[in-house]
Amino acid sequence: MAIMRYAEALNAALREEMERDPTVFVFGEDIATYGGVFKVTAGLAEAFGDRVRDTPISEQALTAMAVTAAMTGTKPVLEIMYADFMPLTLDALINQASIYNYIWDGQVTMPFVLRTQGGGGVGTGAQHAKSLDSLVAHIPGIKVVAPVTPADAKGLLLAAIRDPHPVVVLEHKLLYNTRGEVPDDQGPVEIGRARTVHEGSDVSIFATSRMVLEAEKAADALAGDGISAEVIDLRTLRPLDLGAITASVAKTNHAVVVNEDWGFCGYAAELSATIMDHAFDDLDAPVERVAALDMPIPYSQPLEEVVIPNADRIAAAARRALA
């Protein structure tokens, strides 16, 4: 068991897969010589030559190229520097990657991984701080994972690369330097399984990405009030672990959903509707939603802090659910 930074865990996954499978290649802006803005790909170019490529700043073409490279025998892992640039990738995701396996009746598979990072909290401003989870989780045919721990970062990236279908890996800029235990034999983590962070009996908090850490803080605060909160890290935004969700709601009868993307038409809205669809009879109160405020992410710290969800808002939502 080693203690690793999240970025190192991702690096380990890429390195292992590239060693194991010569068809895996990694490309994106600044990722080869420089090792990536968050140093996730550090050292890979030295080890793997032209299978690690710096690219021009051409997100649209790169994503479309990954789609067909994936159909023709390679396993591309494309890094899109910020989730905010995902709008440039959307034609390739919506009109290409997600459809071919279906419309060509299984003639092709698409082992394509798009890695990106999102989220706010460090003053990167309105074009470098968004979470656009809903945008990609909306597309049938695309899987979306969002690891929080270093162990999951490695395990879910391994699973994504081995998956025959397109997977978007949503990382978070505030997680790269977090540390955690990663088993020496950490293998793939099954896509579509949630992780119970800790058990509780009064209210279930379903969280994604860095919001899991805020939910844990909220649970600690709630414990001070004698409220036992169960925190569940969804890990996979699509497909969803419906079993874990309904089992937890059956136990606590109260649900809070937390996601850093915008609220309106957002991922938290989908989660609360899903809980209504599948666990309505177990609910003693309406599902509480916590999401970013519906506005551009501002730069200045006191402004940004209001817009992005945090432990206080999560705890307040839990108290409302229980009121």
């Binding site: 068809t23 073409a61 479309a64 067909t68 490279a69 290409q96 060509w104 672990d241």
Partner: protein
């Protein structure tokens, strides 16, 4: 004889495939008028020499991706006309089992992957295939067929830049038929001759007579050889003209009749027959033409009596089949 010169047999086969495509188009036009087709159908009458001539210069293992107007490329790449027609009529026996429709036909076993109805979409598609070929160090090439309209997209620039930069084994075949929807190219492009853009991407740009299948074949064969030598991409501008409307639902009225007449006089089938007539005897040409007519008649007959598909949700190979929670 230089390697890029198609043999007589190859030219007879190109002639046959162009005629197969033409008869499919004509029949589709009639069936559209009779209300027997679904959605718009984009005919390529008069442009068959581009799709057929270009694909004849490829090997089966080479990849090709085309546009919403891809029938000549499908037939040129050796797809079964019956299964192409079946796909157009939404039949279970179609190449996508009725899920793709006429704009998105693919046969992965022949490298035809596939038609692409997002304008410009075929350009990065072939570039990505070429990247995969380069990473795997394979002996094959990828070809993008795209229109003069598609040449105006941003993604065209990104793709060609990367292809030139990395010397990818890709052929950009620009089918210049003078129109993007109803708008003439002079209202869409700052330059009338599009092969000149190749200079900006560090690749050769060549222009060919797009109504002469042999000329297209030769240009593609040269570009293929260059790509296989590791020298990178080529931009080929094949000049042709869209004699029919944009699609079967186009009401027309914006093209000059004298242009249409002038181009019809240089119909690729007339050009092809004239050249063949110098070398092949008339009986051989007639036999090839008869075969084309019979192939198409049989393709329609079989395809139209093939069954329609049963609906099934995203098949077992699909992303969510085994994961907890559906969605």
């Amino acid at each position: 004889m230089p390697a890029n010169r198609p043999t007589l047999d190859e030219r007879l086969e190109m002639h046959r495939r162009m005629l197969v495509t033409r008869r499919i188009e004509e029949r589709l036009g009639e069936m559209h008028k009779a209300g027997q087709t679904r959605g718009p159908i984009h005919r390529c009458d008069g442009q068959e020499a581009v799709g057929v001539g270009a694909t004849a210069a490829l090997e089966q293992r080479d990849y090709v991706t085309t546009t919403h107007r891809g029938h000549a490329v499908y037939i040129g790449k050796g797809l079964d006309p019956r299964r192409v027609v079946a796909e157009i009529f939404g039949r279970e026996t179609g190449y996508g089992a009725g899920r793709a429709g006429h704009m998105l036909v693919a046969d992965a076993s022949r490298g035809m992957i596939g038609g692409n109805a997002i304008v410009g979409g075929s350009i990065p598609a072939a570039t990505g295939m070429a990247l995969s070929i380069q990473i795997l160090r394979e002996e094959r090439v990828a070809m993008a067929v795209f229109g003069d309209g598609a040449a105006q997209t941003g993604i065209c620039h990104e793709s060609m830049n990367m292809a030139g930069l990395w010397k990818l084994p890709v052929i950009f075949l620009l089918e210049h038929n003078e129109y993007g929807l109803t708008v003439h190219h002079t209202a869409q492009s700052a330059v009338p001759e599009l092969h000149v853009r190749a200079a900006g991407y560090g690749m050769p740009g060549v222009q060919v007579d797009g109504n002469d299948a042999v000329a297209v074949f030769q240009a593609v064969a040269d570009a293929r050889a260059r790509a296989l030598r590791g020298e990178g991409p080529t931009l080929i501008e094949a000049r042709t003209y869209r004699v029919e409307g944009f699609s079967t639902s186009d009401m027309g009225g914006y093209q000059r009749q004298e242009d249409i007449d002038r181009w019809k006089a240089r119909d690729p089938l007339l050009v092809s027959r004239a050249v063949l007539g110098e070398e092949a005897d008339a009986a051989r040409i007639a036999a090839v033409e008869k075969d084309a007519e019979e192939t198409v008649a049989a393709a329609f007959e079989a395809a139209l009596s093939d069954p329609l598909p049963e609906f099934a949700p995203h098949a077992p190979s699909a992303p969510y089949a085994n994961a907890g929670g559906g969605c």
